[in-house]
Amino acid sequence: MKSKLKGAQTGHDLLKRKSEALTKRFREITKRIDEAKRKMGRVMQIAAFSLAEVTYATGNDGIKYQITESVRQAKFRVRTRQENVSGVFLPQFESFQMEGTSEFGMTGLGKGGQQVQRSRETYTRAVETLVELASLQTAFVILDEVIKVVNRRVNAIEHVIIPRTENTIKYINSELDELDREEFFRLKKVKNVKERAAAAEELERQKRKQREDEKENNEGATKSEQPDGDGTKNVLGDEGDEDLIF
């Protein structure tokens, strides 16, 4: 039981430390999300502006339609990687360009090709920022979940398992103490009885001794006092009494 308590306490310490490490990481990520979101605002603005340039250069809105309709295969894709933070796997998105699928090759061939190209680059960078932000955010969501679970466990151990074990240990201890006291009391009783018996025996022995002594004395006295003929016992039994003188 004691070892169980010890185990619970060790587990509690470890989990608490884990929770602290995760929370630290979590705060870091939230800060970075905050920054990244603001950065995203700026980047998207620039990108939108570059698109406006494209529209202006090509001179018509048809380009947008052309782009949205000519989509076939994704060139820009993401790959997921894992990162380990104190036993928690956080995914990280990694963007990469698919080779061999060149899109929008003909877009803006007539006019504004340069603008289209530049806008494309701007947007690629913007989307890369977004991917970064997305991985931060995913980490945020997962960490949030994990921290909740870990904290729940820490609290469960701290407020339920440890007190319960302690109570059990206390109960066992008090029971053992009780047993100890009973045993002690029993021993005392036994000793008492024995002492009394010993005392009684002693008394008995002394009495016997006394009697024997007396007998011997009496025998001696009868032998010595026999010639007097006064060997009869004093009937009154006041041998030890002093004579009263009036």
Partner: protein, 124 residues
């Protein structure tokens, strides 16, 4: 809590729900993908003033729940506002949902569902 590999292994596309400008720009970066026919599905949705909310919700549902090949869903913030309840209720790790600003609507960190949670956690 390690997520199973299958939860994100095949996810490699981004999905976009946004107004014409945002979608065009992001598609220009090479994000767009149309699956092979016969059941060809686009991974983007262009929303204009005439688009019904139910259509947006349908696209959102299909991107977040049905399709298993999407890693990130990008949605314009003013469109996310239209289906705010659904966006706020969504808290899965995959695909991750990202609210992005659009040309006409500057980014407002107060409305973002994740930023709201950040603020809540820091007690602001």
């Amino acid at each position: 809590m390690a997520l199973p590999q299958s939860a994100y292994k095949d996810r490699e596309f981004l999905a976009v729900i946004g107004d014409e400008d945002s979608v065009t720009g992001i598609l220009l970066a090479g994000v767009g993908h149309v699956t092979d026919p016969p059941d060809s599905q686009k991974n983007y949705l262009v929303v204009d003033s005439k688009t019904e909310n139910s259509v947006i919700e349908g696209a959102f549902e299909s991107f977040t729940r049905e399709r298993k090949d999407i890693a990130i869903v990008l949605i314009n913030q003013h469109i996310a506002d239209k289906i705010r309840g659904k966006v706020d209720a969504y808290n899965e790790a995959f695909p991750s949902l990202l609210e992005i600003p659009s040309k006409d609507h500057p980014y407002d960190p107060e409305k973002d569902s994740v930023m709201k949670r950040v603020r809540k956690l820091f007690g602001e």
